[in-house]
Amino acid sequence: MATLTEKMPLVATDAALDRAISERIDRLLDQRLEAKLAELKAARTPSMTIIATKGTLDWGYPPFILASTASALGWDVSIFFTFYGLELLKKDLRKLKVSPLGNPAMPMKMPMGPAWFRSIQWNIPNAVQSLIPAYEAFATKMMKKTIKKSGVADLAELRGLCIEAGVNLIACQMTVDLFGYKREQFIPEVKDYVGAATFLPMAKDADVSLFI
């Protein structure tokens, strides 16, 4: 880069003047830089990317709750659905299930009856759970009832709110092929079917990137 002396021979042959100008610019830069950075930071829209990899009822909630809330706060949000996460893009979310089998963290409480009954934690061993027919269907039903009773949104409603709020729902094309799915099985609002190489740059620029 040409020095002041080379660019403006007439004016800047004076080395002292050159130095004075440099020092002045340095001082101004220090003051202005901080103010400018703060300005840019305030004007920036926060963004979030989520990679959703699970397809059960319980795991369906975190991506949609986080995405819808971030959207409500004014953020730009994109969710990349891959592997079992694709289940969350299917047309009928009522098919999603939850299983207590091998799921020691799941609270097993009945959502109905008197308070003392509802507070019982039914610890049924896996070996027994696996023998009872329709056990998963029952557990799913109880979970849905618990969710409804506590006023938490229905999953389809949450997804709808995300779509309304402009959250980008992006599907992993590779998984679609892997599991032999057809695009007609998914909701039409899916923004795009892409690969990791397309999604990763979005994640790089986001303020928050989550793997669910």
Binding site: I65, S68, T69, A72, L73, G151, A153, L161
Partner: protein, 75 residues
């Protein structure tokens, strides 16, 4: 306090009170006031965060009998 629209978010849990508040605010014009009634105890902090993040001032936040009443102004 005067308000231009009321949102009944009673019985709704996180994140519904905030999501519905956002939706309701969209329908107001700048300067109008939205009254939100909620029963979710988390909504106190949530409304505060929502107001700060989106720049729609929280004019007041009060509790009566496990019910929370918020007044937000559309910026």
């Amino acid at each position: 306090m005067d308000f231009d629209k009321e949102l009944d978010a009673r019985g709704l849990s996180c994140p519904l009170p905030i999501l519905k508040t956002k939706k309701s605010l969209n329908e107001l014009t700048s300067g109008q006031v939205l009254k939100v009634v909620a029963t979710d105890p988390g909504s106190i902090k949530d409304m505060q965060a929502f107001a700060t993040q989106t720049g729609n001032p929280l004019l007041s936040s009060a509790e009566e009998n496990k019910t929370y009443v918020f007044y937000l102004k559309k910026k």
